[in-house]
Symmetry: C2
Subunit: 323 residues, 2 copies
């Protein structure tokens, strides 16, 4: 039984710029100043010969709090138990499954598993990224996302937890639609209204420490559903215990329920589509994926990890996203 | 020089249900219990023979605060000065231009002007609605919206101010897109990113009394742009002066600027489209308008004004919206 490990990089750089402008500007200029030779000789972590080593490192979630780690391990395991027979093993090079920057203050883990030809799953991505902040503390981004292929029009699943300190968290949790809900109101009804997805957003909205989060990227805002959970959680200075309570008692059950809805209604109960709709889905999916890379990955990975490591990881992601 | 008076009814009932559940339930059941004969004899305001009487009543905005009235008169006048040569006069029956319910505790004004055949303006709608609340106080909805035809793909304009008390306001202000921004990223860039529309949302977001507003209708949420201003303003009990200050000093200049962007970039600088895109725009516009009626108007107008008056107004709106 293999593990589905998925990394959602969608919003990395725009998040960084919002959450930690100093970090974003630091990483924007630091790496390109180094010589290419230095990067090549110093930046790559030696590739391991054990194909399961990347998966093991991913599942450790070594830098996040226990409630975040428990949640992520549970979500990955739930996906794995349900969809394992439809998924191929992760075939990424080991130095893409785990990588770090030259100075060793940024580490990341990436797992991608493609779906079998007969499956509606296109691929599944999981990741964590850890960056020491110039101001002290660290940024941790933990994510899991799924991508269906054009045999079905069902929405995808995404969760991303971005912690810039022990008392500050941005949570993105959604089933991003794959059709324009204004043009397809039945799609909205089928996947969002009848599943009562908005109740989960309402549950989190009631917590005093929770406020809505607006992505700085307008495209990213459009990408999500009207029931998307995009929130910022800020607990009082030093009160990391309250943050852990919020993640463990509120975020955890909500995320598990939303994944359950995705598994039952989208991955395993999704609607098949005709040829015309397939073309529409292919075009819209392709545009969304290309914009994803343009907005975030194309600049953020080289900035955070240097052009050689960032470029190598980006090339592997491109192979899957724009296959 | 005639006045453009436009009424945006889009979200009436869903707003009512959120803002004042008691009012929504009161109006849901009160009118249908009356006999049709009573409604016919009592509910219609006598039609005036003066064609300008409806316009005059609309421009009075008799029940709202001075800052709201000043803003609405300014927006209407600005539209009028810029677009008057493209618009036909309002030809609604006088008992649709002004109407009230049987008991006289709900009054409303409606103005619709269609665009000339050569204009990109399909029609423009303006309205105010005033309802006494069973709990005391009153609900006032004031709105202005524009609808372009399929000769251009430019966004529409909408402003709606919903006051359920002197210290509580919901503001909806947006240029709703007419194409799916995920499928048309250049559309997003052209009308939303390059115009810096999000700065206006950010300006209002910083006011302490302002919080995001989520429409209870998921379709309504999808209908708006990623830079839409959908906010609730709540000032302290009894502090209507602060509400007036917020409307006069913040909402007023933001709304005027957003209308200016619409006039310059959409009404007068919009892009022309080819035949295939025209079909797409017609289909999407038609769906949005039909859903509008289904979600709100079809039930809310008869509930608030009784089936006879509500039905009469609805029939006239249908003629324009689904022509």
């Amino acid at each position: 039984m293999a593990v589905i490990n998925s990394c959602h990089y969608f919003f990395l750089y725009s998040q960084l710029a919002t959450l930690s402008p100093s970090l974003a500007s630091t990483y924007r200029f630091s790496s390109p100043r180094k010589s290419l030779r230095t990067q090549i000789t110093c930046s790559a972590t030696p590739a391991s010969s054990n194909p399961m080593e990347g998966r093991r490192k991913f599942m450790e979630f070594p830098y996040v709090s226990a409630p975040v780690r428990n949640l992520m391990v549970d979500l990955v395991s739930t996906l794995e138990n349900r969809l394992d027979s439809q998924l191929l093993p992760c075939t990424l090079p080991s130095d893409v499954q785990y990588y770090e920057n030259q100075t060793g203050n940024a580490q990341a883990s990436l797992q991608i598993r493609s779906g079998l030809h007969s499956s509606p799953i296109d691929f599944i991505l999981g990741s964590w990224i850890h960056c020491d902040l110039p101001t002290g503390g660290a940024l941790n981004i933990t994510s899991l996302s799924t991508y269906l292929n054009s045999s079905t029009d069902a929405p995808n699943f995404v969760i991303e937890l971005i912690q810039s300190s022990a008392t500050s968290l941005v949570l993105i949790l959604d089933l991003p639609p794959r059709k324009d809900p204004v043009l397809y109101p039945d799609y909205l009804h089928n996947f969002y209204e009848s599943t009562q997805l908005d109740t989960y957003r309402q549950t989190l909205e009631k917590i005093p420490e929770v406020t809505p989060y607006f992505s700085p990227s307008l495209y990213v805002r459009c990408f999500f559903s009207p029931t998307s959970i995009m929130v910022r959680v800020e607990t009082e200075a030093g009160d990391s215990a309250r943050m852990e309570e919020i993640v463990g008692s509120y975020v955890d059950p909500v995320a598990k329920d939303v994944l359950g809805i995705w598994l039952n209604h989208c991955a395993c109960g999704g609607r098949e589509v005709g040829e015309t709709e397939k073309d529409y889905l292919k075009k819209r999916d392709s545009l969304a994926r290309n914009k994803t890379i343009e907005i975030d990955l194309g600049s953020s990975l080289p900035r955070l990890f240097g052009p050689e490591v960032g470029g190598r990881v980006l090339a592997e992601i491109r192979k899957v996203l724009i296959a």
